[in-house]
């Protein structure tokens, strides 16, 4: 028997489920207290009822803690030191944080072109001595440090000697290409470290105090789970939309569909292709920060079931913000939920208040039932229309992804027959409208209100080991782990590189207690390196990975039941 708890802290509500094997044993929903997420999490746990004789095997949390801290700028100051070498000017991209420039150049293969300047280091550390407001959080990032960490390490060693207490983060720990994103990712991860550690400690203690000793894991934006103390904090941003996609996967084995998770303020979209979620080619973007954080290809649309309805240039439209819950649920102003309630397509809300809300949007003389019905329908049509545009754009974006090999062009993404899987509070109410706009079947599961928590509860660990090997220079690196090392093997390895990749992956996965059963491999790319007219070695790229997925599927009740209202 496997009993897992999943909790998803959303902007408005926090959902929690207790899954027993592949059935929902209990579920709950509490309002989110943005100023005290820990308290919110614990009250959700308490309402699920963790005490009692049955032990829980695992608790998985999807939280907006780091997301909020970044978006609101609530983090300690970090000093960012860059070694940009040569190339594009730093000013060409917009930097949301200040930085200082240091010398030292590494090229695209990780060869040192210009060594750093020790005098400059001495000067900077001298200045810091005299600066009472200096930060003890220091991030150092070099261009091409993912190919050679030499300069970062040299500077770090020097720094640690001069300031033993300093908290240093080095860019090469984020081993993918993109100096700009690597700098910002290193910065944000360091900035959110203290906050995260404190949260993790307190959560663990509080759960422990409740007599529960289940390991606590956290959902990452790439769809994987990791123990609280093993995760890099910035990897937890935007796990909510990811939880929604996983929740859909737990209810739709091996299918291809678009996930539409309708929340209060925003609606999150994702794509699942034959049971695997689409992963974003570039990293996640949060506020003004572009990062290297691997994430699912999701997009958030600023329209939800609680979006405020505003009058613009004489006509009514949906605002990008929420004023509170729907009027029919005791809120302050009319929302799409009131339209759903009035039309009777959702089983909750006070219909009298819904009618009142809609009437308030119309002039006195146009408040007949027919007028109200027409208004309700047009509001939901507008909402469905906005979502439909974004869904189409997302499908197009997926089809437009670049390919770098002939194989990729000859085997394009097939156009598939998608259906839409809707979840979230407004899913039932919007289903028919969305179906008409998209001319596509829209399905709603049995538990649309707690779909994200289900996703968190059923998520399994992900893993990825992308190897970049340069046999000429005798160096290898692993992107995800940011690990670099010496290659002692052949100049033109064949089977050897395969077993090297496997061993490296096993070692790295082992360090995070991740099981590699079911891991997949991408075919190796071999680039003969030629000097003069002689092949002197190879550059090899390969990858072993465990894609995001769920460890079980939620049993759906027979068809008749799925239409029944959940209360």
């Amino acid at each position: 028997m496997r009993r897992h708890v999943g909790i998803d802290v959303g902007g408005t509500f926090t959902d929690a489920v207790l899954i027993n094997q592949e059935e929902i044993e209990n579920k709950t929903k509490v309002p989110t207290d943005q100023d005290n997420l820990l308290h919110t999490l614990l009250s959700a746990l308490d309402r699920l009822g963790l005490d009692g004789g049955n032990p829980v095997d695992e608790i998985t949390v999807s939280t907006t803690l780091v997301t909020n801290a970044i978006l609101q700028g609530r983090f300690p100051p970090v000093e960012l030191y860059l070694l940009p070498g040569t190339g594009m000017k730093l000013e060409s991209l917009s930097w949301p944080v200040p930085y200082k420039i240091m010398s030292g150049t590494i090229d695209y293969r990780g060869r040192e072109v210009l060594p750093p300047d020790e005098l400059q280091w001495r000067r900077i550390l001298q200045e810091r001595k005299l600066n009472p407001s200096k930060s003890d959080h220091v991030a150092i990032v070099g261009k091409f440090s993912h190919r050679n960490q030499l300069h970062e390490e040299q500077l770090a060693a020097y720094w640690r000697q001069a300031e033993p207490g300093v908290n240093l983060a080095l860019g090469h720990e984020w081993g993918q290409a993109n100096f700009y994103r690597r700098s910002l990712t290193t910065y944000l991860n360091l900035a959110s470290q203290d906050l995260w550690q404190e949260f993790a400690r307190e959560l663990e203690r509080a759960v422990c105090e409740r007599g529960c000793h289940a390991p606590i894991k956290v959902l990452k934006t790439d769809g994987g789970v990791l123990p609280l103390d093993r995760v890099r904090p910035v990897e937890t941003i935007y796990s909510g939309p990811t939880a929604g996609v996983l929740g859909a996967m737990a209810q739709n084995p091996d299918a291809s569909y678009v996930v539409v998770d309708i929340g209060g303020t925003t609606t999150d979209l994702g794509i699942v292709l034959s049971g695997s979620p689409l992963v974003s080619v570039r990293g996640a973007k949060i506020g003004p920060y572009k990062t290297l954080v691997r994430s699912l290809a999701v997009r958030s649309v600023a329209v939800g079931a609680d979006s405020a309805i505003v009058r613009e240039a004489g006509s009514l439209s949906l605002a990008r913000y929420r004023l509170g819950p729907a009027y029919c649920l005791g809120g302050p102003a009319p929302t799409p939920t009131d339209a759903m309630c009035y039309l009777g397509v959702v089983p909750y809300g006070d219909r009298v208040r819904a009618e009142e809300a809609l009437a308030s949007l119309l002039p006195d003389e146009h408040r007949l039932p027919a007028d109200l019905t027409r208004l309700a329908k047009s509001l939901l049509e507008e909402m469905a229309g906005r979502l439909a545009v974004e869904i189409r754009a997302m499908e197009q974006e997926w089809q437009d992804e670049p390919a770098y090999k002939i194989w990729g062009v000859l085997h394009p993404q097939e156009a598939r027959q998608f259906y839409v899987w809707a979840s979230g509070g407004g899913a039932r109410g919007l289903r028919d409208f969305l179906q008409r706009k998209l001319h596509t079947e829209v399905r709603v599961g049995q538990f649309p209100e707690v779909s994200n928590a289900v996703g968190a509860a059923l998520a399994r660990p992900t893993f990825s080991c992308t190897l970049h090997l340069d046999t000429v220079l005798g160096r290898f690196s692993v992107e995800e782990a940011g690990e670099q090392g010496k290659w002692q093997g052949a100049k033109r390895p064949h089977a050897e590189v395969d077993s090297f990749l496997e061993k490296t992956a096993e070692r790295l996965a082992g360090a995070k207690s991740i099981d590699l059963t079911g891991a997949e491999k991408e075919p190796f790319d071999f680039f003969p390196v030629v000097q003069g007219y002689r092949t002197v070695g190879q550059i090899v790229r390969g990858r072993l990975y465990v894609p995001p997925g769920v460890w079980g599927h939620l049993h759906q009740r027979p068809e008749g039941g799925s239409r029944r209202a959940e209360t």
Binding site: G87, F179, T535
Partner: protein, 446 residues
Amino acid sequence: MNKTGILFFPAFDWSLGETHPEREERLLYTQEQLFEEGVFDLPQIRQFAPGMAPLSQALLTQGIFPHPAKHDLTAHLIAAGSTLVLGEALAEGQIQNGFALVRPPGHHAGATVLGNRGFCTLNNEAILINHLRSKYGVKKVAVVDTDVHHGDGTQDIFYHDPGVLFISLHQDGRTLYPGTGFASEKGGPNAWGMNLDIPLPPGTGDEGIHYVLENWVLPRLDEFKPDIVINSAGQDNHFSDPLASMNVTARGYGRITELVKPDLAVLEGGYSIEAALPYVNLAILLALAGEDYNGVMEAEKPNRPQVSFTGLVSRVKELKAEYAQAQPNWVWRSQPYLPDGTWAYIPRMIYYDTEGFQEVRFDRVRKCAHCGGTVFIESRRPPSRGRYALVRIPFGACPECSQAGYDLWEYLIGRAETVQLQDQAGAQVLFWHLDEGVTRFSTVQE
């Protein structure tokens, strides 16, 4: 701020041989450089996915003999198709300029294709230009070829075409492949002056090439007023190129791009895979995007002998004189089977270096005051006795030249092994082969 399109198609699974300059590794370091710099995060840059050109688009521009099926065209059709993707984005106003960073290259592939030459089989730019003319009605196009090798293929395709101004700057053909591209090559009888070849002495550097652009190429462009400017952006003028002997830097290439202001730049040659390409490609892309490229510094420094600037200026003066005094190289020769009109005759030999054979050609063009004139090319690959025939009815053809094209086509069927009719004006290609009869390709898209 420019909206700049980039189509990066490095063909990481294609080569002409493991140690061949045109190999998998060629754009590997360019990818490393572009990705690491974060250029795709520049707000004005938009990346496009590669596409595959329909064979009909290639056939509208080039005669492929003895039969397209005899050539491995896949990689070439993707390089050409990717160029078309960017061209369409430009024509539809999605971008203001773009860079097709694709391989394999194309500018040595000419009007007839019997094999691969100078690493090229299909001419990416030429296919693009004719596509833009047929689909979007573009009238005047200029090509500025800044590859170190003479763009002989592109020149061959447009030599009789008054709608296309072809300008090539290259290392003097007496010192480098393909050995052509002299100032006297000014165009065919209906397009005299529409071809400008500027052979430069080995050792020409940034200052020299910028001088030539500012004092000869740009004024000629201003005079022509093209609707679209295409840059064949070969990168082998770089001081580290292993096949040539010029002295241009990455920043020099950035400035070339800034001066020429191409609507589209298309990668051609450039085989200094490590010392030049990552830097030159970056500089060109930054220049197109309106960003500062002056920080792009190669790891190596130039150490080749440089031509003195005054020496270069006086050489350019001589070239201008040579160009002004150039005389046509064709003769007028009629044949009983040729349709009515006056036909110019130009016999030619074309060497295919990749496989090492000669093509023998007899080019004929119908003199016409109203259009580019019907073009008729006979091609042979000795010692084989098989003859291939290409007939072209140009864009904007007059009724007489159109009729002449179809008369020739009918006459030639059965008299050659392969006959191809490019009706550019009518947007169709007819292909006749001994074993298959006639195949029709429409180039009009849905």
